[in-house]
């Protein structure tokens, strides 16, 4: 059974955890977003709902191969582009 003081302690810990958690600002397709630090490109794509293989990624205008999605981490100020097929002439 949890006491009131136990609840308070839990809230304090969560608050501390949030305060200690490192956040970064970056851009996704031209829009500013805030992310937990330590997210990979793969994590980012998943978080924003990109699934399957029908997208390609560039960070700071440089192509990021799919094989690097788990090892390339998003950093403060990164400009991430996620592109998908469209019609063209």
């Amino acid at each position: 059974m949890t006491t009131d003081s136990g609840h308070a302690a839990g809230k304090d810990e969560k608050l501390k955890e949030t305060q200690n958690r490192s956040l970064i600002q970056c851009s996704l397709n031209g829009q500013s977003i805030t992310l937990d630090s330590g997210m990979s490109i793969g994590d980012l794509a998943k978080k924003f709902g990109y699934t399957g293989k029908e997208f390609a990624v560039a960070v700071n205008t440089e192509f990021v191969p799919r094989s690097h999605y788990s090892s390339r981490y998003v950093e403060q100020g990164d400009l991430v582009d996620i592109l998908a097929p469209v019609s063209g002439g």
Binding site: N29, F63, A84, V86
Partner: protein, 269 residues
């Protein structure tokens, strides 16, 4: 009429009309137009999209269903570096090394930047791409693009989307004459079937267009007309056009002409 197939980077095609996938009223009309055109190669691109953008997914599905060979472009790129990165993204996603390389140097005319284009083409060929550069009809640029390894060139007829036709026929003819063995595809600016036919009559190997079909009142019918025009122009080229001349020459024989020098007034003199 028998004709050799169009060969680009070692692959053969029976259609000499390449088609764009943009600007159609709907994905289904695009599919019908592509079918009516007989095209075997279709252009497409990559753009920023949110994960839930259904329109993008629908057109991509429709393009896949045409069964055409995909020719991704680098439309909108302003530098060689941008084009190279977009090309890499296209290769990974579309699983093709074929690339319609565009490096635009001027927003008003969408004229290709020859310097950025050459730089990007050279680098991409070393990376294994099969580059089809969208270029101007400048002979020296085209020779340089050939020299760095482009096996196909795509000189413009007129600025993209204008429908103005072949604005510089003199240079286009010269290009054809000076690069007789290199596949040359007139890309952009063609607005009417007669203009596509003119390009084919000049001896160009194929024509790539989009807007003239997609923005017609009846895109499917227009696609069929372009198909016939391209085939007709090709046949005319193979049949061999007569050489133009400045003076009149009667087509009916003059020998045996009745009344020749027999006017009454002449005889009475």
């Amino acid at each position: 009429m028998s004709d050799k197939p169009l060969t680009l980077y070692g692959e053969t095609f029976h259609s000499r009309l390449l088609i764009g996938s943009a600007l159609y009223p709907s994905p289904s009309i695009m599919q019908s137009a592509v079918k009516a055109s007989g095209a075997e190669i279709i252009t497409l691109s990559l753009r920023r999209q949110g994960p839930g953008q259904e329109a993008g997914a629908a057109i991509w599905q429709a393009i896949k269903e045409t069964g055409c060979k995909l020719l991704p472009n680098t439309a909108g790129c302003r530098t060689g570096k941008e084009a190279i990165n977009l090309a890499e993204m296209s290769r990974e996603l579309f699983q093709t090394e074929w690339l319609k390389l565009e490096v635009i140097g001027d927003d008003y005319s969408l004229q290709p930047d020859p310097f950025g284009l050459l730089e990007a083409a050279s680098e991409l060929i070393t990376r294994g791409f099969k580059v089809l550069p969208y270029c101007t009809e400048d002979l020296i640029l085209c020779q340089r693009l050939r020299d760095v390894g482009c096996e196909v060139l795509m000189p413009w007829g007129a600025p993209i989307g204008t429908g103005l036709g072949l604005l510089n026929p003199y240079h286009l003819r010269m290009l054809r004459e000076r690069l007789p063995d290199l596949p040359l595809i007139v890309d952009a600016g063609i607005g009417a079937p007669s203009q596509a036919m003119e390009a084919m009559e000049m001896g160009f190997d194929a024509v790539l267009l989009n807007t003239a079909i997609a923005k017609a009142d009846n895109p499917v019918l227009m696609a069929e007309v372009f198909r016939n025009a391209v085939a007709g122009g090709r046949h005319a080229y193979l049949a061999g056009l007569m050489l133009p001349q400045q003076t009149a020459s009667p087509s009916t024989p003059t020998i045996g002409m009745p009344f020749w020098h027999q006017h009454k007034s002449n005889n009475s003199q």
